[in-house]
């Protein structure tokens, strides 16, 4: 019993919480940016895979780590452009198009990986992001060791939370983005382009999603594996509703999820003999569904979410 509580006092547990939360922070920010502009992006799962693979491959081929991050973001934005063009001006079903983008991005990443490495027994590795070694912070009691284990990539995630919150809440661009997801007619009346705003938001959001994937191959691990995303993208879609489309709450939701995941990994080693490990592995998914069902009634969906807009048509 005490062992189960003792986990919460370990610095390693909190460090793992932040590490598990980081890709989800990127993913939820990306999803909420798309949805705030009125576009559901179910391409997220595949964009995670494509970001993980392309960022890693770029570094493997000789780019610096931050170059790999930029490549992943570019690949994500490209898939965002595809999703945006198909769903915004063409007004195709956002559900089915998103699944299509996921299938396409995933199969491109897997095919590309198999072409680059036809028969490797163990996945090739890169030199991943090293923990930040900031002098004074590491010496702080308790939180020092937690923060000292994190990498620059995680810092970028936290910075993105702040930037996105500021842009959405305090800038004319943010106002236009929110309006295009709530009331596109009003945006059109302002003389702004609904199509450009929505496609731009989906591209930026998809770039953020790809960063979530790239974090896994460039910082959390140092190689690309098939099936390494394993539903993380879908979890982000659930967490976005839970976060009621706010960057601050997105951070909270991702950290909560990270803590739960880190906790189940550790409790497995204590209770593993009695309870099958799969029960613990199910917990994050069950938690996501529970979070979604609990807030669904009160959820304040962007009012024009999934409603295609055609100029001059009511």
């Amino acid at each position: 019993m005490w062992e189960a509580l003792d986990i919460l006092t370990q610095a390693n547990f909190w460090a793992a919480t932040i590490r598990i939360a980081t890709p989800l922070i990127f993913g939820v920010l990306g999803a909420l940016l798309c949805e705030r502009a009125g576009v559901l992006n179910l391409g997220i799962e595949g964009i995670f895979v494509a970001g993980a693979m392309s960022g890693w491959l770029a570094v493997y081929l000789g780019l610096p780590l931050w170059g790999g991050v930029a490549v992943a973001a570019g690949v994500g934005a490209a898939f965002g452009l595809l999703h945006g063009v198909l769903t915004v001006p063409l007004g195709l079903s956002q559900h089915v198009t998103g699944i299509g983008v996921t299938l396409l991005a995933t199969s491109m990443a897997y095919f590309g990986y198999r072409v680059a490495f036809p028969n490797v027994a163990t996945p090739p590795r890169i030199e991943a992001f090293a923990p930040l070694d900031v002098p004074l912070i590491g010496d702080l009691p308790f939180i020092g060791p937690i923060l000292a284990q994190q990498t620059g990539f995680t810092v970028l995630a936290f910075a993105c939370v702040g930037v996105l919150a500021f842009v959405l809440a305090r800038t004319p661009l943010g106002l236009a983005l929110r309006a295009v997801g709530d009331n596109p007619e009003a945006v059109e009346a302002q003389g702004l382009s609904v199509v450009a705003l929505r496609i731009g938001a989906v591209m930026a959001g998809s770039a953020l999603m790809a960063l979530g994937g790239a974090f896994l191959t460039l910082s959390a691990f140092n190689a690309f594996y098939f099936g390494m995303i394993n539903g993380r993208g879908w979890v982000c879609i659930a967490l976005t509703v839970f976060a009621s489309w706010r960057p601050g709450k997105a951070l909270l939701g991702a950290l909560l999820f990270g803590a739960l995941d880190a906790y189940q990994l550790r409790i497995q080693t204590i209770a593993g003999g009695v309870v099958p490990s799969q029960i613990f592995l199910m917990l994050p998914y069950i938690f996501s569904i529970a979070a979604l069902v609990l807030v669904a009634r009160r959820a304040d969906y962007p009012r024009a979410l999934m409603k295609p807009y055609f100029k001059g048509q009511r």
Binding site: L42, L82, L86, L90, L92, S93, H95, V96, T97, I99, G100, V101, L103, L104, T106, S107, M108, Y110, F111, G112, R114, V115, P118, N230, G231, W234, V235, I237, A238, V241, P276, Q278, I279, L281, M282, Y285, I286, S288, I289, L292, V293, A296, R297, A299
Partner: protein, 355 residues
């Protein structure tokens, strides 16, 4: 200037042409990454066609692969008709497969004419109940069914792994996590002795015909279509929207469950956690290629199955990764979506100023 003018009705030949065109466009688009790898493009496609339909054996293999895809394609088609976004056919397939081995691997002993229907009904119920949960979450709490069905896929697969490593593990399988084998009385017979093709294909085609009749010729079929076209109008007209949704959920989940039963009872004979290489997700592509028509699901499933079987054979011959098949299928889905604009709209070119 280009304008989209909605069509009142779509000629059947146009829908068929769009689906075939999308299939061809997918192959053309796939040729680009294929050429980038330096592989001989035409040889690769020729080998794929040969591997999918070049001999009686190849054709039988394609039909075998199409069997679960018809079931999952129908599951997606009926759900999407009602705008119930069931992305959980993969999980429902595994739930059906689990029910199949639970009932058919020794629990009950009975002659085939009792046991086979029992196993099929059990599998369909398992899939149906699994989808009923997200449908109730949607109608009762307003929770988005896309996310719930997607996440349930992962939960069900973990549950299957747990059962196969625990209570349902076959002790005779030398430590390998798999279920006990199906009884002979619970097995779907082969269609041709010596080949893998089995009676599941007949059931799948029968299911497609029945679903077609149900959707186009019955009151509840009409209600389901009405709910899908415009749920608010249907509610205003006094249609029981909640009940129609629940019925769609039962049918869709049941069909996906039958895909699992057919694979276990017809093909594999026991259950492992790698039973399905994504048949549930591919069903979405099949349904979309078929323009959500139950009868169209049959040729669409044959196309997708042919791509996968052909790519496997091509991959063995010239060493190009068989992930190429997933690329073709993904391109086919996106192409048919874009092509769908042609079936829903007439595209009219108007000079500026005249409109």
């Amino acid at each position: 200037m280009i304008r989209f003018v909605p069509r009142a009705r779509t000629p059947v030949w146009l829908s068929v042409a769009v689906s075939i065109g999308a299939g061809l466009a997918a192959l053309a688009l796939t040729a680009i990454p294929l050429a980038l790898t330096g592989a001989p493009v035409f040889t690769a496609f020729a080998l794929m066609a040969q591997g999918a339909a070049g001999s009686g054996f190849a054709l039988a293999e394609t039909l075998t692969r199409a069997t679960p895809l018809i079931f999952t394609g129908l599951a997606a088609a009926v759900a999407f008709r009602a705008k119930l976004w069931n992305i959980g056919a993969e999980g429902q397939l595994y739930a059906g497969a689990l029910a199949t081995v639970a009932l058919g691997a020794g629990l009950i002993e009975a002659p085939p004419y009792v046991l086979v229907p029992l196993v099929l009904i059990g599998a369909a119920l398992a899939g149906a109940v699994l989808l009923l949960v997200p449908v109730l979450f949607k109608t009762r709490f307003g929770a988005d069914e896309v996310v719930v069905t997607l996440l349930l896929n992962f939960i069900v697969l973990l549950f299957v792994q747990m059962m196969l490593e625990g209570p349902m593990k076959d002790e005779m399988a030398l430590g390998w996590p798999q279920s006990a084998p199906m009884l002979d009385e619970a097995t779907l017979p082969k269609l041709v002795t010596g080949w893998r093709l089995h009676w599941g294909l007949v059931l799948a085609v029968l299911a497609a015909v029945l679903l077609h009749v149900f959707i186009t010729r019955t009151v509840w079929g009409f209600r389901i279509r009405a709910v899908g076209e415009n749920a608010r109008a249907a509610r205003y007209a006094g249609l029981p929207v909640g009940k129609a949704m629940a019925l769609v959920g039962l049918i869709s989940g049941g069909l996906a469950g039958l895909a699992g039963a057919s694979e276990v009872a017809g093909l594999k004979g026991y259950l492992t956690a790698d039973l399905s290489p994504g048949f549930g997700y591919a069903g979405i592509v099949v349904a979309t290629l078929a323009n959500l028509s139950p009868l169209g699901v049959i040729p669409a499933a044959l196309f997708v199955a042919g791509v996968f079987v052909g790519a496997d054979s091509m991959s063995r011959a010239i060493g190009v990764s068989n992930y190429l098949a997933d690329l073709v299928v993904a391109f086919a889905l996106l192409s048919v979506l874009v092509g769908g604009l042609l079936t829903r709209f007439r595209i009219v070119f108007v000079r500026r100023g005249t409109a």
